[in-house]
């Protein structure tokens, strides 16, 4: 049987057109993302100056910086990671070391994955109800706790994945030498997976340092530089939101500077995490 040349020709034509569309899709998305980053770079760099890091957010119509927002962001990200890391690493260890195939661990894994993609603004509502209302005021603590709830599932997930990569022979060998299981986990499994776990923590830092929605009604905002976690705290994302939505030119410029700062640090953290993960594999 000979192939009908017209059918073959049509099939190749269809293939060319469709594959061309795929190339087009790639081109469109590269183009879209390139102009976003370009715009960010141009507008952000022109607004960025030393004052951005040294001065606090100004009233409309005057020059200023983002120092208070940067400090607030650092403090709340720090609290978030400080809470989320032990909880996340221990949970990940429970899933990977103690309860690998139990039904409970399937449920925990599912719930963790749900939290991982849950709308962050709903997390904000929750923390508002359990922290802000009982305390009677907005505070950096509330913001940090909200961020912790977002960071925790990221750390749980990577910790579990990384511990599962540790060969079981290592565990068996250490227990055979008379090590209690918990010490085998701490001294052998954690140490073998340390780079991977650190990668997860870095990714969690990257994730929460750009989060805006959960801070809106937990940490609120603050025009002044403060180190008091018990007071409402400003943060870079919330400052960007407030300034970008405002009609004032100065504020909008600061918003671009802040946006560049956030994107740059998030991308840097991601690249750092990735190179570390790549090194951990060898």
């Amino acid at each position: 049987m000979k192939a009908d040349p017209s059918i073959v020709g049509r099939r190749h034509l269809v293939s060319r057109v469709m594959m061309g569309l795929c190339v087009g899709a790639a081109a469109i998305s590269i183009f879209a993302l390139a102009i976003i980053l370009w715009e960010l770079l141009i507008r952000g760099l022109s607004a960025l100056s030393l004052a951005t890091f040294l001065e606090s957010t100004p009233p409309p119509g005057s020059k200023g910086g983002l120092a208070n927002a940067i400090v607030g962001s650092l403090m709340m990200t720090g609290i978030g990671i400080a809470i989320a890391t032990p909880l996340g690493v221990l949970t990940g260890s429970y899933l990977a070391e103690y309860a690998r195939k139990s039904r409970l661990s399937t449920i925990i894994r599912f719930i963790n994955d749900t939290l991982l993609s849950a709308p962050s603004i709903v997390i904000g509502l929750f923390v508002y109800a359990v922290v802000v209302v009982p305390m009677g005021h907005f505070s950096g603590w509330a913001g940090g706790i909200a961020l912790a709830l977002i960071a925790m599932p990221v750390i749980v997930r990577t910790t579990e994945d990384m511990l599962l990569l540790v060969p079981d022979q290592l565990r068996e060998a250490s227990v055979a030498l008379g090590m209690p299981i918990w010490r085998a986990i701490v001294k052998v499994s954690w140490r073998a997976a340390s780079k991977g776990i650190l990668t997860g923590i870095l990714l969690a830092v990257a994730r929460i340092s750009g989060e805006t929605a959960p801070l809106l009604f937990t940490a609120l905002n603050n025009q002044f530089l403060t180190f008091d976690i018990n007071r409402p705290l400003p943060s870079l994302p919330v400052a960007i939101f407030q300034f970008a939505m405002s009609p004032y030119k100065d504020w909008q410029e600061l918003a671009w500077a802040g946006a560049l700062l956030i994107s740059a640090s998030v991308l840097l953290l991601n690249i750092l995490a990735r190179t570390m993960a790549a090194r951990g594999e060898h």
């Binding site: 998305s29 709308p119 209690p180």
Partner: protein, 329 residues
């Protein structure tokens, strides 16, 4: 003599070790309990979240009952609230994002896995993953300052003059071209979820055994036929799971939407008009809401959003875990 001494000293140390209990045996149980307790806080967090939201939403539910779900009223002055405008806005913007974003994301994934030169594959997929990590507020800001003015001055007037004149579907593209509105929000969401869906798809497609691809080419398939009839069906579940994860993101996304949606609780037939979504309503109104019923209605909206995304994520995870099991075989 020296030898004997040596032996006995080895013997001593050995018996020394043997007589010593391994350190930390007593902590075995506590450590196990500690990790289990941490794991239970994860479960507890989700359950507490649901309970707290339900409690805080209760006043609104008691006041409005079922009509909250079907009412399109949103009036803080008369304290009449309904979930329809925000919920519809959430579904429409996420729908637009999926319609626009998914095919492009698949195209990108096919391009990276099947078409582009081998050397470019890794850098491109890393670039896609990095872009998926860009905070959503950046997309929102860009949408407000760049995309919305561009669409409002060039594309939307054109749409209104052409498709807007067509009967029936024309109603979707009418009214003044503000630039901000449902369609703009949907497009921003599409750009935001694109790298996300693409990175999952790339990972799924790269897991296809080479044999399948080789066999398909071996019987004379064209590249498109290989992609369409072999690769995509083979990874169907993983791809659907990725799309669902993207949908979950789009439904719950706050910042990318809030900038460009216009925050109007009137339901407009036209996609070019301002609207609102659940998350945008919360972001804009929660801290300024006065009165228990107003606050409670906002929390009820949050509860609806959580339930919708929960169902979508449940589905996504079922698909992805089935896909993983298939791959493990």
């Amino acid at each position: 003599m020296a030898q004997q001494n040596g032996l006995s000293s080895i013997d001593d140390t050995a018996s020394g070790y043997l007589s010593r209990k391994p350190s930390g045996v007593g902590l075995e149980k506590p450590f196990h309990m500690l990790t289990a307790a941490a794991a239970l806080t994860v479960v507890g967090a989700l359950i507490a979240l649901l309970i707290i939201l339900a409690i805080d939403a209760a006043p609104a539910i008691r006041q409005f009952g079922f009509s909250f779900l079907v009412s399109s009223a949103w009036n803080p002055v008369t304290e009449m609230f309904g979930a329809v405008p925000a919920t519809v806005g959430t579904l429409i913007t996420a729908g637009i994002a999926m319609l626009v974003g998914t095919p492009i994301a698949f195209g990108v994934a096919i391009f990276i896995n099947e078409i582009c030169p081998h050397k470019l594959r890794d850098p491109l997929s890393i670039a896609v993953e990095l872009l998926a990590a860009v905070p959503s507020i950046i997309y929102g800001m860009w949408g407000l300052f760049v995309l919305a003015p561009f669409l409002g001055t060039t594309i939307y007037p054109f749409l209104i003059d052409t498709i807007g004149q067509v009967p029936v579907i024309g109603a979707l593209f009418q009214g003044p071209p503000y630039g901000i509105g449902m369609l703009t929000a949907g497009l921003i969401l599409a750009i935001m979820v694109l790298p996300f869906i693409a990175s999952v798809s790339i990972r799924v497609l790269s897991g296809v055994p080479a044999v399948l691809r080789e066999a398909a080419y071996g019987i004379g398939s064209t590249p498109w036929e290989v992609a369409r009839y072999v690769l995509l069906p083979h990874c169907r579940k993983g791809l659907i799971g990725g799309v669902m994860l993207g949908l979950g993101r789009a439904l719950g996304e706050t910042m990318a939407v809030t900038f460009v949606i216009g925050n109007s609780h009137k339901i407009a037939a036209s996609l070019l008009q301002p609207g609102t979504t659940i998350s945008a309503t919360l972001a804009n109104e929660f801290t300024e809401a006065t009165g228990d019923i107003y606050l409670s209605s906002l929390v009820a909206l949050g509860l609806i959003l959580f339930v919708i995304t929960f169902i979508v994520l449940l589905f996504a995870q079922m698909m992805l875990s089935q896909a993983n099991r298939k791959e493990a075989k």
